[in-house]
């Protein structure tokens, strides 16, 4: 389908990644998943996702660091950060580095979908 939002989901928790990826796909998103920043970079280069959902804790690179890289290369691409460990500082840091939003796990799927859609619409409107 051409009207699907292309979504990249990056998280090192394999179960969460696969389950959430499938549920989002069932809800009409064109979902790509990546367990590491390395995998995510390849997808970013070749698949042109329109929204990225990124876990703050990743094995090969700190999620915030990766966020910075993404924003440098694709400044208009909205990135929603996910974190399993709420921390005021990491939340602020995420927004400071250009994250569109910051969600805490466990995240409600409906809420995530809304945030992805809003992020997508706003990025189109800019």
């Amino acid at each position: 389908m051409t009207n699907e939002i292309r979504l990249l989901l990056v998280d090192d928790e394999k179960d969460f990644l696969e389950v959430t990826g499938k549920r989002l796909a069932r809800r009409g998103f064109a979902v790509k998943i990546a367990l590491t920043c390395g995998e995510a970079k390849a997808i970013l280069d070749h698949e042109w996702p329109e929204v990225v959902v990124l876990d703050v804790m990743l094995p090969d690179l700190n999620g915030i660091q990766f966020l910075k890289e993404i924003k440098q290369k694709w400044p208009l691409l909205p990135v929603i950060l996910l974190s399993g460990h709420a921390s005021v500082q990491s939340g602020i840091k995420g927004i400071e580095c250009g994250a569109y939003d910051y969600c805490l796990k466990p995240v409600d799927l409906e809420e995530l979908i809304e945030r992805v859609k809003i992020a997508y619409q706003e990025s189109r409107a800019v």
């Binding site: 460990h85 921390s87 005021v88 927004i95 939003d101 805490l104 466990p106 409107a125």
Partner: protein
């Protein structure tokens, strides 16, 4: 001349001469930031309300809630600052980020604060301990030392491995950091996850090496103990938690006690007892009672084993009856642990509190000689009365007699507050209840509850226990306590009031009936029953007559460390100091709380939208007067797509039919559905008071006044409307976003001021609060300022509420002048609700609510 006029016009009425498309893009960009700011503002206010409601409800919450709320709140406030800075596009508001970082830094510091463990020795002998040692040895051992060294009664010889030692061990090798990491996101309602993480954390502690110096010190203390006993002794290692004092909570049985420990196992057992802090039921218990894990530090008492012949538990007064007469004594053969674990046959005696302590009630059904002679019963009662007098409150005492007949005291602690009121409820009178399935047993926690039977015989069963189920067990093992926040009632075949599970049930207000023979076989899984613990019966189905008038569940969080921490954090978040935009103190540097920052950002964002117009000739192009026949003038500014697309013939006016803003139209519908009858006839008192107020304060300035609010402005987009109304002497702000996404949808309303005296203004504000609460607004009233909000509801639902607001905006103006008393207010309430019922014909029947906060 013409050139001069043109120059003057340009000077005073600047117009944008750039590319209209560019201007449109710039404006759209501005509007996007404005909308983003409004959404973040909305989220932030909702998060603040959520935290305040949680605090007010008394419901249990953990650090995960506090951290999650603070993080989400900080993120949203920071987003507001980012959006506002982008809106200003002139480098303004440079002080905002630093103010924000200072406030969020203070919040983070409170969240991350660690309890300080005092420096001190790693080991203290029992002869060195009394109540003043509590910060080193924990409450249990401090009390035991007090009994030994201040009251002069016999306790086992031994020593305590102190909080300092535990603190150093847990801090070493980042052990505590790793444990905290594992526990941070634990969901205690997921029992499988709870067990897994609990086991992993206990394993981490068990395998961590003890510092060599501590190991040596423990060994040395042990050999000194053996020297004093002149033989090799086995010790009982008992947890003595630090950090629970100041609360009448009973962590009884949550932690480990290991009996008969030989010297070579001291180190290993010490670690096991430290690990016991993370037993699954202890984790659940702390969460329910509002304790952070680091608030509790485990000290460990090492006491020479008493070769007990008879042991037991004494209550210096009957539980639940702090003025009651009689000492209750539970006795079992052998060690005291049998009395607490709950499934060993026991004898229950009631003995008079006065000398010579005659027996008031004897155990029934004893075959053979009783475990306790009258002399011993008298001795136990005398000790109980003495300890109660020494500690100043009824006591729960553990004891043992050794083979020589010597009485050793093992523990004394206050009978928990939750025990008050327990067990005294009279049995419920027979009504029209169905015949019971079971009858008898002992009420160990009073009350009645209904639920589906779920029998638990193993840890595996625990995992499948349904929330709200009736827990049915053969014996009340302490391990079942993990279900106490899920079970509606507990029924056990064995056990009595001294069992740990009974203590916890009383604390949590869960009705519990113990000693019900055949309960496990009679009751079937999935069967709906009503457990009448007070009446000592279990009925089939739901018996409403028993369930009505149940006492409220105890507020378990009151005064707990996490509750106090949330209060402290909220002090940095919710107070609003910036109320008056016209004040010279309405500036970034004056923001003291996150609420101040949101208020500041919101106000300035609206101003920036106007300023954008000023800079680009936008107000002249877009601020149109609404063509309507009302006594007031209304101005509408189109932010994006709020007007019909066809070109307007007149740049100064706009017809209602050309408005496309759904929320504005809904408001307008409410404002005009019933014509305003004009000012109410003013009673002389009201008029006099207005004249008086006018004399005293000629400006009669509502707190939220700024240049923008001098006129009545609608700022509109298709889904958005912000209305500032200044009608007469009061100021009202209504704002709504009716997004297709629930997370973005809201209505907010603020109302302040009035012309009449304070009493009349408050009555009007109360009336508004009442009406809005009827329509599910969350209302807050402080002084004569009312704020009301609704979030995350569907569009049609919010449209109805906007009509209500519209109606109230028009029809409550000036009625403060006639608000002489409650009677007048009530008359208006009836009239307003009747009017609203005609405006909203399909609305559900209106109930008159009064559930606003004051």
């Amino acid at each position: 001349m013409l050139r001069l006029i043109t120059a003057l016009r340009r000077r005073f009425f600047p117009e944008h001469h750039g590319d209209p498309q560019e201007l449109q893009n710039a404006f759209r960009n501005h509007y996007l930031h404005f909308r983003g700011l409004l959404t973040a503002n909305n989220n932030a206010l909702e998060l603040m309300a959520e935290a305040e409601q949680m605090l007010a409800s008394g419901r249990p919450f953990g650090m995960a809630f506090v951290r999650g709320n603070c993080t989400a709140l900080s993120v949203n406030v920071y987003k507001m600052i980012k959006h506002l800075t982008a809106l200003a596009d002139n480098g303004g508001y440079q002080r905002l980020p630093s103010r924000f970082k200072e406030i969020s830094g203070r919040i983070e510091a409170i969240l991350d604060r660690q309890p300080t463990i005092g420096a001190g020795p790693h080991i203290l002998g029992m002869d060195q301990i009394d109540r003043t040692s509590i910060d080193l040895v924990g409450e249990k051992m401090a009390n035991l030392g007090e009994i030994r060294n201040r009251v002069g009664l016999t306790t086992p010889d031994g020593f305590v491995i102190t909080a300092t030692a535990a603190g150093e061990f847990m801090a070493g090798g980042e052990l505590q950091t790793e444990i905290n990491r594992q526990l941070k996101s634990l969901d205690i309602d997921n029992l499988e996850e709870l067990y897994t993480i609990s086991a992993a954390v206990q394993q981490l502690i068990s395998v961590a090496p003890l510092p060599e110096e501590l190991e040596t010190q423990i060994q040395r203390a042990y050999f000194q103990l053996a020297d004093r006993a002149s033989k090799e002794v086995l010790v009982a290692m008992r947890s003595s938690a630090l950090g629970e004092d100041g609360m009448r909570v009973s962590f009884a049985g949550q932690y480990r006690t290991q009996l008969n420990v030989a010297p070579e196992f001291l180190g290993r057992t010490y670690k096991e007892i430290l690990a016991g802090k993370y037993k699954s039921q202890a984790i659940v218990y702390r969460q329910q009672r509002g304790y952070r894990h680091q608030d509790v530090v485990m000290c460990v008492g090492c006491l020479a084993m008493v070769e007990a012949t008879v042991s037991g538990v004494t209550y210096s007064r009957p539980p639940g009856d702090s003025r009651g007469n009689g000492v209750l004594i539970h006795a079992v053969r052998g060690l005291a642990s049998g009395a607490v674990d709950g499934d060993v046959p026991h004898e229950l005696w009631r003995v008079a509190r006065y000398a010579p302590h005659p027996v008031l009630a004897s155990p029934t059904g004893i075959t053979g000689p009783a475990l306790l002679s009258p002399d011993r019963l008298a001795e136990l009662a005398e000790v109980a009365v003495r300890l109660e007098a020494h500690f100043g409150s009824p006591q729960d005492i553990e004891w043992s007699y050794d083979a020589t007949g010597r009485l050793f005291l093992l523990q004394s602690r206050p009978l928990g507050e939750a025990e008050s009121g327990a067990l005294v409820t009279p049995p419920t009178a027979d009504g029209d209840q169905p015949p019971p399935l079971l009858a008898g047993g002992a009420t160990v926690s009073p009350g009645a509850a209904c639920g589906v039977v779920f029998k638990v015989a193993s840890s595996l069963d625990l995992l499948r226990f349904p929330p709200g189920g009736v827990l049915v067990v053969k014996s009340p093992y302490p391990d079942w306590a993990v279900l106490v926040n899920r079970a509606s009632a507990i029924v056990s075949e064995t056990g009595q009031a001294a069992a740990h599970l009974a203590t916890v049930a009383r604390e949590f207000g869960v009705p519990a009936l113990f000693g019900v023979a055949d309960a496990f076989t009679t009751l079937g899984d999935g069967q709906l029953v009503t457990v009448d613990a007070s009446g000592r019966r279990v009925h089939p189905g739901r018996v409403e007559s028993l369930l009505s008038e149940q006492p409220a569940k105890p507020a378990l969080m009151r005064g707990s460390p996490i509750e106090q921490l949330l209060r402290e954090v909220l002090a940095q978040i919710t107070p609003l100091n910036l109320t008056n935009p016209a004040s010279p103190y309405f500036r970034a540097s004056a923001c003291e709380t996150l609420h101040d920052l949101t208020r500041f950002c919101h106000e300035k964002a609206v101003q920036e939208m106007f300023r954008f117009g000023d800079r680009h000739g936008f107000d002249k192009r877009s601020a149109r007067q609404l063509v309507v026949e009302t006594p007031f003038q209304w101005w509408v500014i189109n932010l994006d797509d709020g007007f019909a697309e066809e070109r307007q013939p007149d740049k100064h006016f706009i017809n209602l039919s050309d408005i496309r803003s759904t929320p504005m139209l809904a408001l307008w519908q409410g404002m005009t559905a019933i014509p305003w009858a004009g000012p109410p006839p003013v009673d002389l008192g009201g008029l006099g008071s207005i004249i008086f107020q006018s004399t005293r304060n000629p400006r009669l300035d509502p707190a939220v006044r700024s240049g923008l609010t001098a006129r009545n402005y609608f700022l509109v987009a298709k889904n958005f409307c912000n209305l500032s109304v200044r009608l007469g002497y009061h100021l009202a702000l209504a704002e709504a976003n009716l997004s297709e996404y629930l997370t973005e949808s809201y209505i907010s309303f603020q109302f302040k001021g009035g012309a009449a005296d304070n009493h009349r203004r408050l009555l009007r504000v109360n009336l508004l609060g009442d009406i809005l609460a009827v329509f599910d607004f969350r209302v807050e009233i402080k002084g004569d300022t009312l704020t009301a909000r609704i979030e995350k509801r569907p569009r049609e639902y919010l449209e109805k509420r906007l009509m209500v607001l519209g109606y109230l905006l028009i029809h409550t103006r000036q009625i403060d002048m006639v608000m002489a008393d409650e009677e007048v207010r009530d008359q208006y309430r009836v009239k307003i609700l009747a009017d609203l019922a005609t405006i909203l014909p399909n609305h559900e029947p209106l109930a008159i609510g009064t559930n606003h906060d004051q």
